[in-house]
Symmetry: C2
Subunit: 206 residues, 2 copies
Amino acid sequence: VRYIDAFNHFFPKRYFDALLESPSGAKDIGKRVRGIPALFDLDQRLRVVEQFENYAQVLSHGLPPVERLFPADKSPEMARVANDGLAEIVAKNPKHFVGYSALLPMNAPEAAAMEAERVLKNGANAIQLATNANGAPIDEKHFWPIYEVIEKSGRPILLHPSRTRQMPDYPTETYSKYEICSVLGWPYETGVTLSRMRTTARCSRA
Amino acid sequence: VRYIDAFNHFFPKRYFDALLESPSGAKDIGKRVRGIPALFDLDQRLRVVEQFENYAQVLSHGLPPVERLFPADKSPEMARVANDGLAEIVAKNPKHFVGYSALLPMNAPEAAAMEAERVLKNGANAIQLATNANGAPIDEKHFWPIYEVIEKSGRPILLHPSRTRQMPDYPTETYSKYEICSVLGWPYETGVTLSRMRTTARCSRA
């Protein structure tokens, strides 16, 4: 393998089936991904990867974030299903997939820290976080134990922009118009999240 | 003159005095500008400009926007005071100041269109608008007559970013932390405003 793509979404089957049945999975991004079979059909995906020589992928989960799909009493279990699903695909197809990043149930912070511990021990190459946790900034104090676990592992966090139309660009409006939420809002929120995490970390250590 | 700066703030005296007496002028940006005499003291400003050879400025108004300073029954009058103030300074100091951009009372859209008509006839070189009008997007339909006036004149709009701490970056918060509202929020809102104006204009003509 000479070329490795480091941020390639794929939905493992058990997790994708649960996503389709959840209320949020039926709309927005959930609706969009269903139109792209290579995102959830492993045979189709393998054919795509095989078109390129000396090429492999690091798999990661697609939107919506698990905490938007499932309530806090269900998201920890679904996170395990999602992460074990990717781990299994990677184990069975080492030539095509050289690793994966795991997601965490951010609406259940304690369970999220435990899941981080579990997947990093099991060989996850990175943790993928959305740039907001159901609308909240991810530098809030109850998330800090998660970062302690990740920091100890030495492995990276992949940030996935996740602003939705329900985050308006003006206080006088109720939704973001013209897909501005993603086209401009995604790079914006990624920058905001990085600034917040760096500054909050610096302030908390000072 | 060989070098012209096109976006240089200056507060004419009568307008600056009124700004200092308004409730919003006493805080945030209003507080900040008071620490920079060259922004409101003409003698100091002329000395700054004279330090450079073959150099002149196009004057424009500084923040806060007039509609944030004065209610709709007062802002049209204060806009005239502000614009006539810059026009007079330019007329009396043509070597240092080669033109000016005018502001509009955006909380009084009909008066704003009339003021645009008046200042563009009087020789204003541009119109300066803030990227939001007291929080509202400036592509709202009741602002369109303003753009018709400006379009006929052939002169440009200068956009001034104006997001404040009171526009939070996350729906779970009430204010923007760490000056993100300006450092990242200003370029973001400028992009959002340009996208909105282009897209709304295209849709309304389709």
